[in-house]
Amino acid sequence: MDAVSDFLRTYSTTIAVIGVNALLALSVWLTLYAGQLTLGNAAFMGVGAYVSALLGRHLDTPFPVALLIGSVAAAALALPLGSIVFRLRGVYLAIATLAFGEIVRVVLLATPITGRGQGLNGIPPKTELWHIYLSVLVVAYVLWRVQGSTIGRAWAAIREDEIASASQGIAVGRHKLAAFVIGALIAGWAGGLSAHVTFSIDPSDFGFTKAVQVLVFAVVGGTPNVLGPILGAGLLTALPELLRPLKDYRDIFQGAILLLVIIYLPRGLVTFVDVRRTRRLSRIGALDVA
């Protein structure tokens, strides 16, 4: 037992970060499952982080409540954004969320209460490892169950063919919006958890690089089921830690693996678990993320 607690203490930050990244990856996975590319979940994470941290600092809000409000704040921003965008073609979401991410960054840099460029320091370390992993478990479980429900099937249909889906009675825009907003909710929650584990946050933590990183976790891990993003987050967070001397090359490594995966194994590493199905999908040309 001693060895275990020693291990946990040494690597506790990494383990915490893996858990947070798993949550973020799950949030992006959900939108990918509905066939949409969002680059905004880092910004939603930032919203959750700042809102929960500021509530705790200025209004003494109890931790779980602050997390919840941060999470809802992110979802509240996702709702109008998504409503505008989902009336349009798929590429617009990528553009709009990219722009949204930059807007959030700019706002954070300009607003005094957020500490501007300095960010917020001295955030009390209220997050325990079990908070993070319980969240991962709950979110993964819920998403897994929803995947097999009517909504989950509707998302899969939308991913395959939006027009055919609409003809089956699926309200495509509303379903895409739901996936997007729920994703934002999860990302906001992850942001709140993360802020109270890393003690300090600043706007550059939630920018474009982070957004792409999260996407890499989800895509590389795999899209057929919830294990994929968790696997991707775990692998791609732990690996650079283990390969400390190669830290500078982390982005290159992630970029290269993303490229290889999207071209050769688009449904991600988790498809190694079900090779036969992957081969079947490949033969009929239905192999892709979307």
Partner: protein
């Protein structure tokens, strides 16, 4: 006031060159090349390399940078887009693969040059100013505007009057029909990427010369403005992209009068969302809905 107008036209020209490259690939191939900002940055850094490391003058560096980024564009397509096209992958996959390339290339440049702002060696670009009344104008910006306009005219000519231009327009309209009609699709696609990336790279070099600085992240603000420009002008419309670029340039400079510099980006985003809400097809866009 005149100075501001001058600057607006200058920055609009940069935006136009960049956005044209972006819009070209989108209109011909229906993909959003999220690695386009990378060629912008690459152009500037290749010029830096030629000038700083090879010691060659700016007027040699410029064409070399443009040529190399054009070739990079072709390579980009071969590596990131062509395999996906072959198996009929959706647009989503192309966006992701281009993002991957961006990650790699930006980091590589940072490893060589670091992530901070770099200036060109002194005296790289002849700086001259001229005065009209009591207003001062930087000459290099005028040269850039003129060059941009000339290039846009050349591009228009190529698209309207040459075989290549006809091929590209056929490809944009209907890829399958184009192939059946004998269009050399591979050559046309390579040309598209060459021109697109060359324009992007050129924009990068010119901006770096004008401001005398460059950095590994210089493509990011351009990327967002390119989106705004394309949405305002109409996704896939080349003349729309040009108009949108100058509208944005003028709007940005005008808004600086009222907004603090930190919020300068806000104008571009505000415009983007305004257009998305009110008139998503933009000024000249008419991308047809999915064929049924």
């Amino acid at each position: 006031m005149a100075e501001q107008l001058y600057n607006a036209v200058f920055i609009g020209s940069i935006y136009a060159l960049f956005a044209l490259g972006f819009a070209l690939v989108f209109s011909v191939l229906d993909i959003l090349n999220l690695a386009h900002p990378t060629v912008f940055m690459l152009g500037a850094f290749i010029a830096l390399f030629v000038i700083g490391t090879l010691g060659l003058p700016w007027f040699v560096a410029l064409p070399i940078a443009v040529l190399v980024t054009g070739l990079f564009g072709i390579a980009l397509d071969r590596v990131a887009f062509a395999p996906l096209r072959r198996r009929g992958a959706p647009a989503l996959s192309s966006m992701i693969s281009s993002l991957a390339v961006t990650l790699i290339v930006v980091r590589l440049v940072e490893l060589r040059y670091g992530g901070d702002f770099i200036t060109f060696p002194a005296g790289t670009v002849p700086a001259f100013v001229f005065r009209v009344g009591d207003a001062t104008f930087e000459g290099i910006r005028l040269a850039i505007v003129v060059l941009s306009v000339v290039l846009m005219l050349i591009l228009t000519y190529v698209l309207r009057r040459t075989q290549l231009g006809r091929d590209l327009r056929a490809l944009a309209e209907n890829p399958r029909a184009a192939r059946l009609l004998g269009v050399d699709v591979d050559r046309a696609i390579a040309a598209t990427f060459f021109v697109s990336s060359a324009l992007g790279g050129l924009a990068g070099v010119l901006l770096a010369f004008a401001y005398n600085t460059l950095d590994s992240r210089m493509g990011v603000p351009l990327e967002l403005r390119a989106f705004t420009v394309m949405v305002v002008g109409g996704m896939g419309s080349l003349p729309g992209a040009v108009i949108g670029a100058y509208v944005l340039g003028l709007g940005e400079v005008a808004s600086l009068v009222y907004l603090p510099t930190e919020l300068r980006d806000a104008f571009a985003f505000g415009l983007l969302f305004l257009v998305l809400v009110l008139r998503p097809t933009g000024l000249l866009g008419q991308k047809s809905p999915d064929r049924v």
